[in-house]
Symmetry: D2
Subunit: 115 residues, 4 copies
């Protein structure tokens, strides 16, 4: 069983055991995802940008970051399930689509510009 | 290879081919993740809550939602890699931790309260 | 003094008294804003959509929502200051721009569609 | 009239003219706010942290950032209105509360720690 499928199954069982499926709908799960993304952002916000990676490797920050990344993934998997989307294959397909949109020849070394 | 690992490897190759690793740091990838979460939220915001699931099943919305969910996952995997976190096992561990924190006996049927 | 200006001045004094200006840069303040948006989302996520307004009017939720809305505004004002943007006039200008983009004749009764 | 009140009144008139009040509820407006926060994050994500301020001062980025900051404020004002919260006074009150929570003597020069 793939990682994503194992997470989906475990999270579904967790909700069903507690009769929590009734509270699940796409917009609510989306807001829960936003909540966890916010907790993750809070852990990073004041880290000096050029030292962030090394600081995140230290405890207790490393454990807190792991927990919040995990929380975001669990809600993302649940939202994908709600929306009838097969996350794994879609992510790989998206990377391929991006590769076509940003050919190596014209993209090399230049960060994608938003404006 | 697990699906999360396949995504990690494909995204890394994509960045390395274009010499884009130089632009990667935890706070920047975090903001990119927030950008994709925002695009996903925009697709759901005006859907009537009680009809959201069925509306998301229809095209062209279903394809757009799949793409944005995929984008969020790709950045999440990249951020976990930046932070030295093994996403799959951490997510499963977090579900187990939540199960202990919310025993079935006391949780059944009652939505978790934030306040 | 306008209310946005009063907030800007008070927040700036708060930071200067504590010698916290050194930690301020647009990307960091953006992440702090995301953190507060997340805390706000967490307060709303499990509320039934059709009863959210009345539930938010009750305590203790009303006070918590007020606090998080306030936090978001304070960071937004700080970010605008960092970016050299006059928030009040820009917001009014944006509403006018939207009015031209969505003429009443063609918009009446139809929610803006994202896809 | 204060800035925030002028924005509130203009946004309300905009919605009422188009009969869009029917689509407004706290969770939907929250998601719209998240959408605009995401658009703002996307403009900043790849800027080098130590040059972000100067780069944001240049066009066309400065205009884009102004527009997105404005969008976030308009939705924040609308959400506060939905939730029966007087944003301006609450923001000033929050700054005062933070000042008591972080006394100058013990806070000076040290960034607030999240973990």
């Amino acid at each position: 069983m793939s990682d994503l499928e194992a997470i989906r199954v475990a999270a579904k069982a967790f909700r069903e055991e507690r009769d929590w499926e009734q509270f699940q709908d796409p917009k609510s799960v989306m807001l829960a995802l936003v909540g966890e993304v916010g907790e993750l952002a809070e852990l990073l916000q004041w880290l000096p940008a050029d030292r962030a990676k090394e600081l995140i490797a230290e405890e207790p920050l490393h454990t807190r970051v792991s927990e919040e990344l995990a929380d975001v993934l669990v809600y993302l998997v649940g939202l994908a399930e709600q929306c009838g989307v097969d996350l794994g294959p879609e992510a790989l397909a998206k990377i391929e689509k991006s590769a076509l949109k940003h050919p190596v020849a014209t993209s090399k070394g230049k960060a994608p510009r938003r404006v």
